[in-house]
Symmetry: C2
Subunit: 280 residues, 2 copies
């Protein structure tokens, strides 16, 4: 990194400030002095790809991730998922996003074969690789907390995500490391070292208890929960990661707060808990 | 098993019928034709150990587990935990329980060092082994779903539980395999095979979605959720397990239902989803 400003590697994932449109989020990042933004496809669609590219270019922000592709596990929707993922790859290429985040998908209704669903996800990723390679996009497999194994993400550990990613070239398929999903994983620091250059995104938020009732909105601001961001960040840095640090918090209370205040809080927490432990 | 009656290996864990006292639960098991009961220390204390032994002996039931010891991770309570665990070992010996279930414990307030907490749990288990050995009790380490990693059980996978158990003699330390906790674990069938004779308890209940608001009461009746009991039970049987199958469901709706009906439902589901896949 040539820019040594303290927030230069901090990125706002749009889901943290869900009420902001893409133009508002871009402006919010600029106002706060962040270096990057993680863009969601739904909000991208609202402004269109061309306008989004113009906004991002004008802002000087990097696009740390495009969220998200994936949802590979539902046989009835395999074709539409592939089409949607190819479109997402095109968007990621145009935005020059560091990665396209892939959420694996859960078990189809009434289907209890978790292993088969995992195999479908791995196969579907393989099918996307040539197109991603052609467009210069690195796919990022996101292992998800087992709390979501049934209904959202059948890939449950960083180790399991790496088992899939390592079948492909490192420039084509990487892993998304989100503290919420893998903070508890036995041997996580070894898995991060194993991942090394495969880490294409470092996403942060906290694990809070008691867990909020809606498990999809169960994430907390860094420092409000149980995750040791010092140790985790040191391991990510030791693995060689030099990319952006994206704050992605799904939380109803945060969504009800003024977005600029949320960005302010996340920047403070980042400076206190994460930034000092990132290698430069 | 000499008794080939279809419910001979089914056990009612007392938490499934939380409103029943120990005498009521024993009678409920006998009335339903079950072979065993999993006893909780709180309800044991209500009637006293001597009376409990008399009731159990008279009923002909096996005690598939005593729940529970553990909670090793809180430094401020280490001494009282050890005393309580020694008492639990004595109770398990007197009741001739197949195992004393050990719940590891979570992170102390404000403490974020998960690895250190895991180490404390392993050390504390080692301290209990000589006494358990002397009294002929097999300790059962229960790996817990990562949803509880922060506040209840820092040992998160069967693989991790086995890493600890294997430091000790197989008759002294085993593992408790609860479908709710490990159904999602990558490579679970291999871990079950690895466990082999270390499996001292097979507990069943389902993973349901959406997850109920209170995560401690988030368990479902077998068949109501996403777990493939056929595949899981076959793996447990292939590992050589020939013990009881304990139904342990923490669920507010079930607790509000008449306990005898709950036992009836669980017996039906067991006969349909589990019993055919148990080796005899």
């Amino acid at each position: 990194m040539t820019d040594r400003a303290p927030l230069s590697r901090l990125s706002l994932n749009q889901r943290t400030t869900a009420s902001w449109s893409l133009p508002e989020a871009v402006q919010g990042c600029v106002d706060a002095g962040l270096g990057a933004i993680g863009i969601w496809r739904e909000q991208l669609a609202e402004v269109g790809l061309e306008e989004a590219c113009r906004l991002v270019a004008e802002s000087g922000l990097r696009v740390s991730s495009l969220c998200r592709g994936g949802f590979f596990t539902y046989p009835a929707e395999a074709q539409s998922a592939e089409a949607s993922n190819r479109e997402a790859i095109e968007e990621a290429a145009t935005l020059n996003a560091a990665t396209l985040v892939l959420v694996p998908g859960g078990l189809p209704p009434g289907d209890r074969d978790l292993e088969a669903a995992r195999d479908r996800a791995a196969l579907a990723i393989g099918k996307l690789v040539p197109y991603a390679h052609e467009l210069g996009v690195t796919l990022g497999i996101e292992p998800m907390n087992p709390i979501y194994a049934a209904d959202r993400g059948v890939i449950s550990t960083l180790g399991q995500a790496l088992d899939i990613a390592e079948r492909f070239d490192v420039t084509d398929v990487g892993v998304v490391v989100d503290t919420f999903h893998v903070w508890w994983e036995p041997g996580i620091s070894d898995q991060l070292l194993r991942a090394g250059p495969r880490i294409v995104s470092y996403q942060i938020c906290d694990w809070i208890t008691p867990l909020p009732a809606d498990t999809l909105l169960a994430r907390g601001m860094m420092g409000d929960g149980h995750i040791d961001f010092t140790a985790f960040t040191r391991s990510v840095a030791a693995a060689g990661y030099r990319g952006d640090v994206e704050v992605e918090i799904f939380n109803a209370d945060l969504w009800a707060a003024p977005p600029a205040e949320v960005v302010d809080t996340m920047a403070k927490r980042y400076l206190e808990l994460v930034q000092p432990y990132l290698a430069e």
